[in-house]
């Protein structure tokens, strides 16, 4: 039932696509770490399911207790985790040396971390705390453009010039105002 051919952009096939450390997508060591994580999560789910109220005071049918399905899913996760762990062990996870990240991989990780910080900063800090939507969005878009331009391989883009800042600000304000207008004014959708 497997697919006839892997997709040409499968992340697992492109090492330059930033596998940050020895935990590469296909490496047995990464799978072993994942397996431990899945087993811990599965056990936690089973324990939480066993501790769920069985609603005996409401005289419910014992086959319909709320913890039944989550418990089975947790058990399934433990079993899959054990299989994944066994498979990675048999593929030599314990023998595999820890490989240092290449500069490309470090660059990938740095960019990912910055993107996460910017996204969280916007959606958790700026949004929903009194700042008008278009102002918060303008700040986020402008900052994102400037930060990632500064990390560009092109030296001309890396420079913080007045023109670059003005261009980023213009794009930020324009896109935010257009989104605000289209959603809130035309399609009557409430915005945060």
């Amino acid at each position: 039932m497997k697919r006839a051919k892997p997709t040409p952009v499968d992340e697992t096939e492109e090492p330059q696509n930033g596998i940050a450390d020895s935990d590469s997508a296909a490496s047995p060591r990464a799978d072993l770490h994942d397996a431990i994580g899945w087993i811990i999560l599965g056990v936690a789910v089973v324990v939480a399911s066993l501790q769920m109220d069985r609603l005996q005071d409401r005289h419910i049918n014992p086959y319909t207790i709320p913890g039944l399905v989550p418990g089975l899913l947790g058990a399934g996760m433990v079993i899959m985790g054990v299989i994944l762990g066994t498979r990675s062990w048999m593929r030599g996870a314990h023998r595999q040396a820890i490989v240092r990240a290449t500069p490309d991989q470090r660059e990938w990780s740095k960019r990912a971390l910055l993107a996460v910080i910017l996204c969280c900063g916007y959606s958790v800090v700026l949004i929903g705390h009194g700042l008008p939507f278009w102002v918060a969005s303008s700040i986020y878009v402008t900052c994102s453009i400037l930060v990632f331009d500064h990390m560009s391989a092109d030296p001309a883009k890396r420079r913080f010039s007045v023109l670059a800042v003005a261009k980023a600000l213009l794009i930020g304000v324009l896109s935010s105002v257009v989104v605000w207008l289209v959603f809130e004014r035309i399609f009557l959708v409430r915005l945060p």
Binding site: G74, V141, L191
Partner: protein, 512 residues
């Protein structure tokens, strides 16, 4: 029969007003733009448009969403041809031959082939949508808790087996999806599961914010973290649809169209399966096998018709069973529920005209992509020239709006961010998101059906394995798990070879 044709005619007429048609074109345009942008999927297009169209009339809103669904898959082939990156997962099979043609200076011809194949196969799929949905809905009326339990498990298992290269990781993602669906108040006693006293979690993790996170934010993070930005091939030749190629490869179109529809009927397989299976089938019977992967028209036609005809195919189980076949159809189903239509076995009873309206909507969607294929290809490709440093923050802005707008809850934005960041790291470790989505959608059905089934059977598991439909679904599901066991897989392989050898021998004898 006559009543059906009358309903169909009425459905077509109901959309024949300029404003509705304009909405349909707008949906197809938005879908195509999202499809053209690498990584932004049909799922994200439908999820974002669901929020945008909430204030519209239900039928118009669903027309917009179906047009965006078809448009996104069609638009995705442009990126596959010009960048060698599938715009959506469904276009992956088009990369090899489409990009090879672009390298040979025939990018326009490849796009023209994609247009003609897409339009024809969607229309072919529409025929099956109109005929199979009422039939399947009749069968589905016989489904009880036991059958729905297996159907939910079958969908998640099949999705895990097919999507990506590692079934084990696919099943784990399916389990995560099913588990996430258990968060919040359960349906039988309103008991709060895994809420940890957090009131916002009582409503559960809503589908649209989760999907926007898994397919939107995760993709934004993927794109922004990649230090390399790719450049597109120039278009030098005509991009108009190639009807001559269509006639020359008519059997490929017909075969791939049928394969697309029937893979679409299977819950959980996704649009890409239609494309890959069609591509493999075309290669198996083609007279020019050596050209496959090097710019084969036959291969490109097969891939494009296979994925596009799976769209109407996926709509059949959504409408008749209430079980989506892919991530985009899962969002579409959620949108139907938001607009007051509950897909499932009772749909033909409660809203008998709705199925025909969906048929009319899908036909209009295929005509919309033909229009854009004729006149809009070159202008739309300009979107690929926008640097991702500018594009991706704007996409995240839309993701935030999309997550918030359905219920106006800040919690949904936080859920979107959490799911998105989790999905990003899981994707980098080789886990696919489609089984998670199927799990999230089918989790409540699985939970309710298992517990109801156990009440009906007084705790006995027997009816889960002995009722005819349950038996078939259980056998296929268990078979898929067993295929992962090497001993069983090699035994099946040997048996399959023996059957194929025997069949070839019998055919050889009869030929002689």
């Amino acid at each position: 029969m006559l009543q059906g044709l009358q309903d169909l005619g009425a459905a077509y007429l109901s959309f024949m007003n300029p404003m509705t048609l304009l909405y349909g074109l707008g949906g197809a345009f938005m879908g195509m733009v999202m499809g053209i942008l690498p990584g932004l999927s049909a799922t994200l297009a439908i999820a974002l448009l669901t929020t945008m169209t909430m204030s519209l009339d239900g039928n118009v809103a669903i027309l917009v969403l179906i047009c965006s669904y078809v448009g996104a898959l069609y638009g995705g082939s442009r990126t596959a041809i010009l960048l060698n990156i599938p715009g959506t997962a469904a276009n992956a099979a088009s990369c090899a031959d489409g990009y090879a043609l672009a390298q040979q200076g025939q990018a326009g011809r490849a796009i023209g082939i994609a247009t003609s194949g897409a339009v024809t196969s969607t229309l072919l799929g529409v025929l099956f949508l109109a005929t199979l949905t009422p039939l399947l809905a009749n069968v589905a009326l016989k489904f009880g808790a036991f059958e729905f339990f297996w159907l939910a498990l079958f969908g998640v298992t099949l999705s895990g087996s097919i999507v990506g290269g590692d079934p084990l990781k696919g099943w784990l993602m399916g389990l995560v999806g099913l588990l996430l669906a258990q968060v919040g108040e359960e349906s039988l006693y309103a008991y709060q599961r895994f809420t940890f006293g957090w009131e916002s979690l009582a409503g559960g993790i809503a589908l649209i914010p989760a999907l926007v996170g898994a397919f939107g934010l995760a993709e934004v993070l993927m794109a922004l973290s990649d230090p390399i930005e790719r450049k597109i091939h120039d278009l030098t030749d005509s991009v108009l649809p190639r009807w001559r190629d269509l006639i020359q490869y008519r059997w490929t179109v017909l075969r791939s169209g049928l394969i697309g529809v029937f893979t679409g009927l299977l819950p959980g397989v996704g649009e890409d399966a239609g494309a890959w299976v069609s591509y493999a089938a075309a290669k198996a019977v083609s007279k020019e096998k050596e050209k496959f992967g090097k710019g084969s028209i036959d291969g490109l036609m097969a891939a494009e018709t296979g994925d596009m005809s799976s769209v109407p195919g996926h709509l059949v189980p959504v409408l008749a069973l209430g079980v989506p076949g892919s991530a985009p159809s899962a969002v579409l189903m959620a949108a139907m529920i938001i607009h007051g239509v509950q897909p499932g076995p009772m749909l033909m009873v409660e809203h008998p005209h709705f199925v025909y309206q969906v048929v009319a909507m899908t036909t209009l969607a295929s005509l919309a992509i033909l229009l854009f294929g004729l006149f809009g290809v070159r202008p739309m490709l300009q979107v690929l020239k926008v640097p991702r440093n500018i594009l991706m923050p704007i996409v995240f802005l839309l993701c935030t709006v999309g997550a918030f707008a359905v219920a106006s809850r800040l919690f949904d934005i936080y859920a979107m961010v959490a799911v998105g960041i989790g999905a990003y790291f899981l994707r980098r470790r080789g886990y696919e998101m489609a089984p998670l989505v199927l799990g999230l959608v089918l989790g409540p059905l699985l939970d309710k059906s298992l517990r109801r089934g156990l009440v009906l059977s007084d705790g006995s598991l027997e009816p889960f394995f002995t009722r005819p439909i349950s038996m078939v679904l259980a056998a296929i599901t268990i078979f898929m798990f067993l295929l992962y066991v090497p001993v069983f897989r090699s035994a099946v392989g040997r048996a399959w070879k023996a059957v194929a050898h025997g069949a070839r021998g019998a055919l050889g004898k009869s030929d002689a």
